[in-house]
């Protein structure tokens, strides 16, 4: 029983960050119809920003987080303006290839600047974990969970309660009509990509200190983000959040009770099942997409 409780706590902590990874990607996919292969490298980028600010400049850990979010936002906006805007109207394959190219170039860039050896970030949290009966969890991970929950909430409010969010949703439903109604679609695309990117960078900045930071850290994260997006339905934020927790649960229980060798396969087994039985994702609403 205590082992099961520990697995559940692990699931919550892991799921929060998976959700954060998922919503950034689903936002971009849903609104822009862009398969964003740079998502993983933006995650890596966020982690390295954390490393630079905390380890190299010796600044405060909590200050580094917003810096990473802002840096992710700026890099995302730059990618949209220089790569995606000129390709607007191209077919999805062309955009995909360009994004794969950007991913490889940026990953090689991080390797060139920081080298392949992993870096770690010191945090202000105590090393001794919080112990509640049979369950322990590190303070850092609790903080990560809280920060992820807050970022998810902010994103949700931004999309559902602000005029920018309304314009984003309108563009998602029908960008021609939205454009006719006076929505600046170019600006919406740039904002969407920048917000999605800043969420990826935030996830990297939060998880970098939990794990270690190296140029390929985003690859597995990106694969999981894609899995979460498929699980939750394209463009569905709530779906991505729940999808993140489902993936974390499948991994935890799969590793705990089936076989740890197949841990990373568990999530994909679920995805195959979802794609067979409910191909639009678990939570896709009947919505006009084109």
């Amino acid at each position: 029983m205590s082992e099961f409780l520990q697995h559940l706590v692990n699931m919550l902590v892991l799921g929060g960050t998976y959700a954060l990874l998922g919503i950034g990607l689903t936002l971009i996919f849903g609104i822009m119809n862009v398969v964003n292969f740079t998502h993983g490298i933006l995650y890596t980028f966020g982690a390295y920003i954390m490393f630079i600010v905390v380890q190299q400049f010796g600044l405060n850990f909590f200050l580094a987080l917003p810096v990473a979010v802002l840096a992710g936002w700026l890099l995302g906006a730059a990618i949209e303006l220089t790569l995606l805007r000129p390709l607007r109207g191209s077919d999805i394959d062309t955009t995909m290839l360009v994004m794969i190219g950007a991913w490889i170039a940026m990953q090689s860039g991080t390797l060139w600047i920081w080298g392949g050896v992993a870096k770690s970030v010191t945090t202000p949290f105590p090393e001794a974990p919080l112990v509640l009966g049979p369950v322990s969890v590190s303070w850092l991970r609790l903080f990560v969970l809280a920060a992820a929950a807050m970022l998810i909430l902010v994103t949700y409010l931004l999309i559902n309660k602000t005029s920018l969010g309304r314009a984003m949703r309108a563009t998602f439903q029908d960008h021609d009509t939205a454009s006719l109604m006076g929505v600046n679609v170019d600006m919406i695309y740039t904002s969407t990509f920048a917000i999605g990117s800043s969420l990826a960078a935030a996830a990297g900045a939060l998880l970098g200190p939990v794990y270690v930071i190296f140029p390929q850290m985003g690859d597995l994260a990106a694969v999981k983000a894609f899995a979460i997006v498929i699980l939750g339905g394209l463009g569905n934020i709530t779906g991505a959040v729940i999808g993140g927790f489902i993936l974390a649960l499948a991994e935890e229980l799969g590793a705990g009770y089936v076989s740890s060798g197949y841990r990373d396969a568990m999530g994909f087994v679920i995805i195959i099942a979802v794609l067979i039985f409910k191909p639009t994702g678990l939570f896709a609403r009947a919505e006009r997409v084109g």
Binding site: G116, A118, D219
Partner: protein, 384 residues
């Protein structure tokens, strides 16, 4: 026109080929290591150690009157790439001997290429038993196979009063091989083997496996993987309140990096290593060890890398000694010469003994294995 182009192309190719072989002023040694991917840290250390050996040899005038040149390629911690890199080094760079490929799965992937092109390779790190028992006569290994590690560990098993042991190992030939060899030795000693958990080589979150181990009734966990994953495991084990004795194997722990990155979480952990840079006087060849450590520091590398980089240093010196003994930089002669060398490695004399099926034996030297413990952020030596 096409024919003319074809002719020009043929001439250019022929010139390049002739120029490539006849004009060789250096003796090339191929280095096939993971410089990116999951084992980037370890592979980079090994390459830096290899460069020290090459520079040292060249400063003394090289071998056979020529300088040695390391042709370094990145196998990306990926077996497919490791095999491709070996092929490239042998066919395109025409190296007569290689060193590589760090991980057991990487080395095993390279081995068929060595047979195909009949080119020998010094194996500097890999510890899977399979490497020297499958009958590949082009393999000359200077690192200890996991059975040797297990045998060395046998002596301390009673002192540590081990009763029940769980394993957490990397899910590849190295990890699974270690779990097998250590289980066998421990069962003979009457120790119960509990869980055998695995993790993917790129995995970053081992909380699920550690939670399971936490709930088991064993008192010790044997962990086998490289430094980056070890750091994560110690941090995550501490976060889960796992209070079992942790012993790591494989010699790729870089204890100082663990101390720096895992902090207090590393205290109390024990490690089976193959080099003692902290206590140069206790190594088999103190003079060579001191030279190597001084040179390593002089180049501005982190001390933590020593436990890994010495393998690259010894590996290149081994290859160079064989070339010198062979008297020519040709694969067949070098392969034969490996059996006759005797050099002072940083971890014992490097002399190859036959291992594997008769008629196609691999070479295996007998390096030392040590047990160290991290206490208060410092490395202490335990006597085996």
């Amino acid at each position: 026109m096409t024919r003319a182009l074809g002719l020009v192309g043929t001439i250019a190719l022929a010139t390049a080929l002739v120029g490539g072989t006849a004009g060789a002023q250096t003796i090339k040694i191929g280095v096939n290591e993971p410089l990116t991917g999951a084992f980037a840290a370890s592979g980079t250390y090994v390459v830096n150690g290899a460069k020290i050996a090459a520079d040292e040899i060249n400063a003394k005038g090289g071998i056979l009157g020529k300088k040695i040149e390391l042709v370094i390629e990145d196998n990306k911690s990926n077996p497919t790439e490791a095999a491709a890199v070996a092929e490239k080094l042998i066919t395109s760079d025409k190296v007569p001997v290689l060193m590589g490929a760090w991980g057991s799965s990487l080395t095993l992937a390279v081995m068929p290429k060595l047979m195909e092109y009949e080119t020998p390779m010094v194996v500097e790190t890999s510890s899977s038993g399979k490497i020297t028992t499958t009958g590949n006569p082009f393999i000359f290994r200077i690192s200890p196979p996991s059975a040797v590690e297990a045998a060395a560990f046998k002596g301390i098993v009673d002192k540590l009063a081990l009763k029940k042991v769980d394993f957490l190992v990397i899910n590849n030939d190295w990890g699974r091989g270690t779990a097998e060899d250590f289980s066998k030795m421990m069962k003979d000693k009457g120790i119960t083997i509990g869980l055998v958990e695995t993790m993917d080589q790129g995995a970053q979150d081992m909380s699920a496996q550690l939670s399971k181990i936490k709930s088991s009734d064993s008192e010790t966990v044997i962990v086998t993987t490289a430094v980056d994953q070890l750091t994560l495991i110690f941090k995550q084990a501490a976060a889960l309140g796992l209070k079992k004795r942790i012993i790591t194997t494989g010699g790729s722990q870089n204890p100082d990096q663990i101390i720096a990155q895992a902090g207090a979480a590393a205290n109390g952990t024990m490690h089976l290593t193959t080099f003692l840079p902290w206590f140069p006087d206790k190594t088999p060849n103190p003079e060579a060890t001191n030279y190597f450590i001084t040179e390593w520091k002089k180049r501005g590398f982190e001390f933590a890398g020593c436990t890994e980089s010495f393998r690259g240093y010894d590996g290149i010196r081994t290859a160079a000694a064989a070339i010198e003994k062979a008297g020519k930089a040709e694969p067949a002669a070098i392969k034969a010469a490996f059996w006759d060398i005797n050099i002072k490695g940083l971890n014992g004399d490097i002399v190859f003994r036959k291992s594997g099926p008769e008629g196609k034996e691999s070479g295996q030297s007998q390096p030392n294995v040590y047990l160290i413990e991290i206490n208060d952020g410092k490395v202490e030596m335990k006597t085996l």
